[in-house]
């Protein structure tokens, strides 16, 4: 039993820190740490720096320009990223479609798409969910009908995160209606600029535009954009969904959010004293910090087991549930710490270049919105109910 990093791992951590000290743009880090909005340009600027460092695709084979980090290295990167305020990587290209292309795509597809993901030329989004199919993915209705060298795609996708920035979308489409629900699905790569595609914003309850609906009306997609075999898309989809699940618990993000909460509670007053010194509030913070400590060790245990050759199984599902509950609890406390100032929604203060006086606290403006926005954590990425169903079946055999 050894909970410490090896000398190599410590050296890697130093390397990560040196890199971030030198290369992470201060304005971007400030936005991340202050929960401000990031622009498309912010993401692209940072991706370029990562790609130059060779650290963008951290689980691709080296032949495609990836770097094969160990699970522990990946964890060290995540920890430091969250601590430094590195923007979350947009996963749809590098972490989602790329592994599918690498494993199931043909050589031409690899040559065509992977370099463009690395360079940032392509911004991918995901076409999985549909209005009628939330957790029940296999009931999807978007049709793709073969017509010569093309598929003609008709239907609608929803919850397409950052689809407004994307020029490429990977989609699950139904190519066969004669077979069982999961058997007639194919995996298509679609250029967003193809005629017939419309993107419509979905505004969330906090006023944010993060997700979209994507409509397909007689969209012509070349058959060479089919990944793998026709009607076998469900296999690829499952591969993608199980790929990279540990990250969903968001332990590093919770640590950053907790640190932010403690700073906030040190500045806000109650009865003339910092809120963090209030017995009840400090116990509430303590409870969530304790739970986070336990979840962080659980996370390390999963990482160490994967490093040792194990497969992260339903433990990741349990951790996803616990991790999202913890982050939501932190968001709840942050909102509570504002007291009456949880009400004002001062959008101008979300802008990092805002130079006026802050209404209450320099970091207050995003907090209530974030609390509401992060209710999604227990819904998206496989809702917490679905995760519990998975654990029931897979680990418990119920």
């Amino acid at each position: 039993m050894n909970m410490n990093y090896t000398a190599e791992e410590l050296a890697f951590r130093d390397e990560v820190r040196a890199f971030l000290d030198e290369k992470l743009p201060a304005d971007i880090a400030a936005k991340v740490k202050g929960f401000r909005r990031l622009s498309k340009q912010d993401h692209q600027r940072w991706q370029k720096i990562l790609t130059e460092q060779g650290w963008y695709a951290t689980h691709w084979p080296e032949e495609y320009g990836g770097v094969k980090w160990t699970p522990v290295q990946k964890h060290i990167w995540d920890e430091e990223s969250c601590r430094y305020g590195v923007p979350r990587s947009i996963p749809f290209g590098v972490n989602m479609v790329a592994p599918v292309i690498i494993k199931f795509g043909n050589e031409e597809q690899k040559q065509q798409y992977l370099p463009r993901i690395l360079s940032g030329e392509d911004w991918w989004c995901q076409g999985y969910s549909e209005p009628g199919a939330g957790s029940d993915l296999a009931s999807l209705k978007t049709r793709a009908v073969r017509d010569g060298d093309h598929y003609i795609v008709n239907g609608q996708k929803t919850w397409t995160t950052l689809g407004q920035h994307a020029n490429m979308i990977f989609c699950l489409v139904r190519t066969n209606t004669e077979v069982k629900a999961q058997e007639g699905i194919s995996f298509l790569l679609i250029d967003m600029n193809t005629p017939g595609i419309t993107v419509r914003p979905i505004i969330t309850l906090d006023g944010e535009h993060e997700v979209n609906e994507v409509f397909f009306e007689d969209v012509k997609v070349p058959v060479e954009n089919l990944v793998g075999e026709e009607d076998k898309g469900w296999t690829y989809a499952k591969y993608l969904l199980t790929y990279e699940r540990t990250g969903l618990a968001g332990i590093g993000l919770s640590k950053a959010a907790l640190s932010h909460l403690k700073q906030l509670a040190s500045r806000r007053l109650k009865n003339g004293r910092p809120l963090i010194e209030d017995p009840a509030f400090s116990q509430r913070i303590s409870q969530v910090e304790i739970d986070l400590t336990a979840a962080a060790i659980s996370n390390l245990r999963i990482i160490a087991s994967v490093e040792g050759g194990g497969v992260p199984g339903a433990e990741s599902s349990m951790l996803k549930v616990k991790g999202t509950e913890i982050r939501q609890a932190i968001n709840d406390l942050a909102r509570r710490a504002l007291g009456p100032y949880a009400l004002p929604f001062v959008e101008e203060e979300l802008d990092l270049s805002y130079e006026g006086e802050f209404l209450s606290d320099e970091n207050a403006a995003p907090l209530s919105a974030q609390y509401f926005n992060n209710r999604k954590l227990s819904i998206f990425g496989g809702s917490n109910e679905i995760q519990k169903n998975i654990v029931s079946k897979m680990i418990l055999g119920l």
């Binding site: 009931s139 997700v211 509401f372 227990s378 809702s383 109910e385």
Partner: protein, 380 residues
Amino acid sequence: MDFRLNEEQQMLQDTVARLVRGEYSFEKRLEFSETDAGFSEDFWKQLGELGLTAVPFSEELGGFGGGGVEVQSVMTELGKGLCLEPYLQSVILAGGLIGQSGNDSQKEQWLAGIAAGELKAAVGLQEPQSFYSLNDVETRAEKNGEGYVLNGRKAVVIGGQCADLILVSARTAGSSRDSDGISLFAISPETAGVERRVYPTIDGSKGCDITLTNVQVGADALLGNEGQASNAIEYQTGRAIAALCAEAVGVMEVANELTLDYLKQRKQFGVPIGKFQVLQHRMVDMMSELEQARSMAILAASVADEEQSDERRRILAAAKNVIGRSGQFISEKGIQSHGGIGMTWEYNFAHYAKRLVMINHQLGDDDFHLERYATLLQAS
């Protein structure tokens, strides 16, 4: 013992319900929210014309002397529509404070207008450092020849953006958190030195922070005796808590109806999601929380206009604590049961969910009131 409304109360509630149904569709509300006023001037006018803004006032003022139950009937229906009008601020709080503390000439000057809905008033009792404690007052009022000079800042004055009259607490004696030495002043927002920073609130309403810089007011701006406002503030805040609880029950009722409907309509894996036992039991828990909240709103209404006592204090703290917890529970679980759709701007549920959580940030959240209750806890 009878928990039914009497005929008059039922008529009152029906009137408001009809008005809200007719005038306050979800789409219209989004529009009202976007206006400068932050609510519907027209709807407010109708409330006034129908005598609804006069409900808690005496008959001389055009009201019908309604008590906690009558106010509850109005507020619950306004809650169902997520109405944005400053009923709580102007009618209950400002009206109540003037009614309790004002001298005859002040009452004459303002109360009839408030009761008629013609004068909109707001209250500035919180400050940037005060959290929810209304005795934590640092704004100072110094006496001078002409009256008083006020300096300080009042925080999160809901409805302050459009108020014709603002009641603010200011310290005329004592130090920061003393209950003695707090005075109440009625000021016009047009007075020199009054500056408002207006903002929307996340639940679709509007408010402002108010900076007072050498604001000169006359001696006639003082409401009640100098330095002795804290009793009236506590008492009227208690009435407002009861009213806010009633509003919350209306919001929760609709939130639960929407969630229940969704469970019946939405299908996944070939069946309505309401067939899943986990969602069923969660819905039962949400209904059960609503029942707890409803009981406390009723109890709060029953003491709202009673004489002040520790029992009244305890009940109101308990009610606000229950409402805060039930509201957040119904909001969070309702979103979860809806899934993504429950988080979208275009679907009304999300706005009910936001209002419920934000009600917890008005007049003290569940933690604050639990602490307050604990200080009043009787040993046996």
